[in-house]
Symmetry: C2
Subunit: 332 residues, 2 copies
């Protein structure tokens, strides 16, 4: 693979990324100044196809990069591309300023990434390991209602509004809570069992038990990794997915957050964090690429941000953007 072949390959990749049309030898000769004639380029293209970097949709069409071609291109980009300062400023403007809490921040990130790239963005919130009970508390409200809330040792809070049953006073509830706090403090959430507990009270307090179950479920869910999508419908803009069947396959994957989660995880464990076409584990996404970056909140909890787009993706720009954003939110 000599220098000129590289140039030809890169020209084709770049042109195809821009136009989504198979690229012919004449186009290359005209548009990129390689100083050789179309015929020469044709010869190089034939070689590149033989080597597996290019493909031909049909005999008399131009060439299209193969997954391998994109891979070569991406690996060759090397030294992290820089974001334009205009875009960097945009990121700072939208994600900087007043920090608005983890959840809102991550949603804003997902939205921003999808707008800037015109692809679909995926944000995975950081997960905690085996949360423990830190505090259970009731707070009275009007109309015989009360909030019950539960805090984990990671500071995650779940809450539930409860109508206080007839046979119970608010003070009774408070007493129960005090007992639970005493008994179960710092106990792993998955080992809490409230069902048998309320037998200690004179009467069973069904409403309360149910609220407890609900709280635990809720808390565990919040503790676990969540998936936030941005611009899921951006795929509709890509010409390669104007076929409804393909669209459906991809959107169905995006609806299944479990799948998305695993996908991003495998992509992230990749050293380079870029999965191109068939490299990624889901058949449905064999015409898509996924780029993933990792961020850290407070130096501890790690999550991921990804961009999902067609294999014909603007790799340098997306890589630059993701690495910038992940650094930015890690620092703030």
């Amino acid at each position: 693979m000599d220098e000129r072949k590289r140039q030809v390959l890169f020209s084709i990749v770049r042109d195809y990324i821009q136009t989504a049309e198979p690229v012919g030898s004449r186009t290359i000769a005209r548009r990129y100044d390689l100083g050789v004639s179309p015929a020469t380029i044709r010869n190089e293209m034939a070689d590149l196809e033989e080597l597996g970097y290019l493909e031909q949709p049909h005999t008399s069409a131009g060439r299209v990069p193969s997954d391998r071609g994109y891979r070569f291109y991406v690996d060759a980009i090397g030294g992290l591309p820089e974001l334009t300062s205009a875009e960097a400023a945009l990121v700072k403007k939208h994600l900087g300023g007043k920090l608005r809490g983890q959840e809102l921040m991550l949603e804003a990130t997902a939205r921003l990434l999808s707008i800037l790239t015109n692809y679909t963005s995926i944000v995975i919130t950081p997960a905690q390991a085996r949360p423990k009970l830190r505090l259970l508390q009731v707070i009275p409200l009007a109309d015989h209602r009360a909030v019950v809330m539960m805090v984990s040792d990671n500071g995650v809070v779940a809450n539930e509004v409860l109508t206080i049953p007839e046979n119970l006073s608010f003070d009774d509830l408070a007493e129960i809570c005090a007992y639970i706090n005493y008994q179960y403090n710092n106990v792993s959430l998955d080992r809490l069992q409230f069902a048998d507990f309320s037998g200690r009270m004179s009467a069973r307090i069904e409403a309360f038990e149910r609220a407890m179950d609900s709280l635990i479920a809720n808390l565990e869910r919040r503790e676990s990794d969540r998936v936030v999508l941005g611009g899921a419908t951006n795929i509709l803009n890509q010409p390669e997915f104007k076929d409804v069947a393909k669209l459906r396959a991809i959107l169905r994957v995006l609806e299944e957050h479990d799948l998305v989660f695993k996908l991003v995880r495998t992509s992230a464990s990749n050293p380079a964090s870029i999965s191109i076409g068939a490299e990624n584990p889901l058949e449905e996404l064999k015409e898509c690429s996924i780029i993933t970056a990792t961020y850290r909140f407070g130096g501890l909890k790690t999550g991921h941000i990804s961009i999902l787009g067609p294999t014909r993706m603007e790799y340098p720009r997306v890589i630059a953007l993701l690495s910038f954003v992940s650094r930015f939110i890690s620092e703030s």
Copy 2:
């Protein structure tokens, strides 16, 4: 509009709902036993078209119901259709059992509705009016961190994890909270201003101020109506939307939760809560129908559940399902 015309119209509507193909006179004569010949039906069809209940895609095609035709059909269904007992059981199985808290419950509802109908479901969570501060509290965690949480008088909770600044002890924080609780108890959230407050302390506590702002924003957001979608991609299954341009228009609307919210609200204020085709305010949805039902949590807070599908929707079934589900979740 005599009895036979009604029968012809209904047959066409039903057939078209099932097949999505323009319906011809012969088909009606064969498939529905009206006791008259195709020629007669043709005459009736011509009349119905003149009256605006039917449309013809082109001269030599069968007839398709117009919005007005669907409207007539829907109004004529009258006395609420009943859900099959099998489906009712399914609803009970998935939404009954242990009540798992409002949020999870509503998400489960959205999912269930979309699966049962194969259309897109929209769930609007109930809104509260002008929430007030009920309680602010800090809870210490390990590693110099603490949870700050804020509870509104409606029992909605927002929380934020805070790293306690060097120049502050946990007790300082607790004291600040005590002061705020004393000073601002039962004050409407939108009138809280913490920025000037911390000037009272010896040093400005920026981290704390920011956490407060974040909490308020978060709380207000949670208090407001939220939109939960189920099966947004089900639209892809409808033959009338195999055109990507139409799809994009609809999915874009669904991505804008503000729009969806207004849409459901206008639909719900409709007495019958059914918007057919051009009846509904968004141009993009002029080939869709929306059916909305209202539910109440705890007898107070009202929210909505809707189904969005093509105008060619299985109205009776969807109406039955929605009214059953809304009753079910209102009672539980």
